[in-house]
Symmetry: C2
């Protein structure tokens, strides 16, 4: 299934940033760019940019550089953003609603197909055009709709039971905003953690101790 093997996480995590900068360059009308120029804009070395891109193929032209639009397109393909992986979101609180309403899932390779919560006053309401379902109907929904990815915006205590149920239903990718470390439980799951508390603590450390 894997088109590219042995690409390190460090490289993968830089790809969306390339995509972002190239999208912006395209918007402001830049058509061509060298690794040197891009490196100055992004704060990387030209060498690293060429190494990163050549993990996936040769997208440039010697003596000339890279075509912005083409490269942006290629990186979009690499990331797989034209997929529409069915995703569900669990926990329609403030954060869950913010994500459901603001994330451009369609441009990021996903399609949000269901919201779930356990609070009676939320069940049946709508967030954008998606209804909030009773979390007790989660397994039924999965059996019927076969989502691929689940977003966790629930308290730590709720995650273990929920992720067990989802894993049984073959949902093995998680975008995890909770404090529970899902990855430790399911070795074959794909887990992307967004630990906002950790991020803020890191910032606190850096303020306290100077940036460098």
């Amino acid at each position: 299934m894997s088109k590219w093997e042995n690409v390190s996480m460090s490289v993968i995590r830089r790809m969306p940033r390339y995509y972002r900068f190239l999208t912006h360059l395209k918007q402001i009308g830049t058509t061509r760019i060298s690794s040197k120029e891009l490196s100055e804009i992004m704060g990387l070395t030209a060498s690293q940019i060429r190494q990163d891109l050549n993990c996936f193929g040769g997208f440039g032209q010697q003596g000339y550089g890279y075509m912005v639009e083409q490269l942006q397109h290629e990186i979009g393909n690499i990331l797989g953003i034209s997929n529409a992986y069915k995703a569900i979101l669990i926990g329609a609180g403030n954060l869950g609603q913010a994500l459901a309403l603001n994330m451009p899932f369609g441009s990021l390779g996903f399609e949000l197909t269901g919201l779930f919560d356990n609070a009676p006053e939320k069940i049946g309401t709508k967030v954008g055009d998606l209804p909030v379902y009773d979390v007790r109907k989660l397994e039924d929904f999965c059996a019927r709709e076969h989502p691929v990815m689940a977003i966790f915006c629930v308290p730590r205590e709720a995650v273990e039971t929920l992720s067990d149920a989802l894993y049984r239903q073959n949902v093995k990718s998680f975008w995890n905003f909770s404090h529970f470390d899902i990855a430790m439980k399911y070795p074959d799951a794909v887990v992307e953690n967004v630990h906002l508390n950790d991020s803020l603590m890191t910032l606190c450390y850096r303020i306290s101790n100077g940036s460098d």
Copy 2:
């Protein structure tokens, strides 16, 4: 000002995770733990844990291990969570409100002291107990209250002007949820980016190409 020099970013970013696991261990009543045991719970090597901790001091006891509560406390100190750095949040949309209402700023080294927005219908309303101020009063507020950190929950286009103004007012730490790369503009600023789109794209890549 810096208590510890030459601690690498890789180590710093692991500290909040140690803090999180130790807090949980404490809650479930574990009083003592060896680097070996902790490594199994966290999915690291015992060696790495000992190396990481010894960047900041010797918190263990040979032949015995680490006292959970004491170590948790020490890491809290290292991270500086007993500070109350004044923070402001700009952009009181869904995401901004979610952060203002849900983040336990007080336990993470910060105190949220002001919210700002440019939408007339939001100005004057309250989010939790904090009023939303007119973003045009941002500089006045900074001159008076001297916040240290700013949280950006606004569109890319708005960030550059705002961060310039804040930088002039000596706000040089940013928790950045926007797509604008603040760090490139102010070399001496402390910037912690939370690029949710990038995170989701990375997840998409990993689903498309297998986790490993």
